[in-house]
Each structure stands twice: as structure tokens, then as C-alpha cells.
Symmetry: C2
Subunit: 148 residues, 2 copies
Amino acid sequence: MTDKSEIEEGLAFAPKFGADGLITAVVTDAKSGDVLMVAHMNAEAVAKTIASGEAWYYSRSRQQLWKKGESSGHVQRVVELRVDCDQDALWLKVEQVGPGACHTGRRSCFYRAIKLGQMGSIKLEFRNADKTFDPQAVYADKDKAPPA
Amino acid sequence: MTDKSEIEEGLAFAPKFGADGLITAVVTDAKSGDVLMVAHMNAEAVAKTIASGEAWYYSRSRQQLWKKGESSGHVQRVVELRVDCDQDALWLKVEQVGPGACHTGRRSCFYRAIKLGQMGSIKLEFRNADKTFDPQAVYADKDKAPPA
């Protein structure tokens, strides 16, 4: 499907994967609205997520399909799935099972803020950065640790 | 900077741009928590956004720096800017000035949902899809219309 108005105003799902075969997925907490993570999906991950109602992604570092929570138990139940105007991004509102989504042991991957008004060498500040679980305990089997 | 723990736990901003020189930016409405859009920034857009507190992006289709709202007046005032664990994605919580962020005339680019449990040919459903402005009127000068 290449017709712009069909893609933008139609009701046929026609995800636009990049040259790498992936589409960007933004994941927010259905309750708080916080962004938990940004991940990527290939066609199979998209199909499995839609069919099952649980989040599947594609790990670029490992080059493999990956079910969120398969090692940690921290699965994501999809409350709502949306696609954007040009169908090159997905938004998953999820119920995050367990204490967190981030492989560093935090609820969200976005635990550092950038103060505005800076120039040159930019400094970060921790924000909601307390660890909610011990990643070394949860990902004891390193072969199954989630990708960064 | 290549040390993983420095990137994940340090306080130096070291954005990881892709091979195309871009980083993914997720934009949410600071009030509602809704995802308004997903866009991309090059290094200059990141620097201008941090320095000015207003959102700048890079248009992949036009291959140029782009200040959100420069033609429509629908600028985005950044309330908070965050970076994720591996510093390859940014999250902007914004105050969206004007009626909407999407070039189709809607508040959010994510105005279609994918019902879960489907397989095969996937159908979309409109969700919060009412147009909040007339894009043809707002982007009367087509040379300045925002990228899709």
C-alpha cells in the first residue's frame, strides 16, 4: 500500500518497517502514562503481540525475537495498541507486570532528565531513578538477560 | 563514550545516534500523558531543543532541521526532557500549543487502534480521531507543511 491517504485515513493496518525490517514501539504505563521504554518490533513480533495481547519485540543486539518478561517474569499485558499517521510507529499502553521494565532494575528506562537551557557539554540528573528490583538476581541466567 | 555502565549509570549526556545520524524522540502531552507523536532528531535538533526549551526535529523526508510549529504555530514547549538507559531515545513531555500535533489535523498522531486477538489481515479502528484543526488551512503554504 503506497497511497498516502489510504495509509493515513484508512482502516487497513499496513505497518511501514524500516530498511532493517523493524518498526519503533513506544511503551507507556497504562496507569501513570509514563513512558516505560522504546523498543523495536519485526513483523513477527507485531503479529505475536496483536494475537496474544502480550508484548513481543525484536532485539537488535541479539538479532532475535524476544518476549518481554520471558526471563524476568516482567511481562507486559497490552491494554491498548495504536498506530500513528504514517504507520511507522506503534504505541503500546501496557500493564507492566512486576516491579519494572528496564534491564537496569528500574520501573522505566527513562530515569535521567536533561535540564533545559544548557549548552555545550550536557549534564543529566537522576529522576525516579531508584531501583525497584535487582537485575543481577532477576537475570541470573545471563543468556536470557534482555537486551539493553 | 563506550563504557556500558557509564552510559547507563553516568550523568554525562552521550546520545547514541543511529547510522543515519538520528535519535528517536517520543513526545507526550504533559497533561494527559498521551503520546502525541514519534519523531527524530539530529545532533543540532537535540542541541537546539535543550538550549531553547522548544522542540526541534529533523525531517527524514525533507532532510532538514525543522522547528515544530514553525509554519502552524503549534509549537511544543518542553516541560521535561529525559533520556533512556542506553541513551538512544529521548522522551519529551510537552505543552502542545494550539489544537494539535499531527499534520493530519488531529491532536495526536495515534488516532487509530488495533484490536487485540486478530490474526492475518489486521483492521484498525478510529480512536480520538476527530480533527481538531483543518490542516489545509493551517499549512496553506505547502512548502512549509510539516513532514508526515
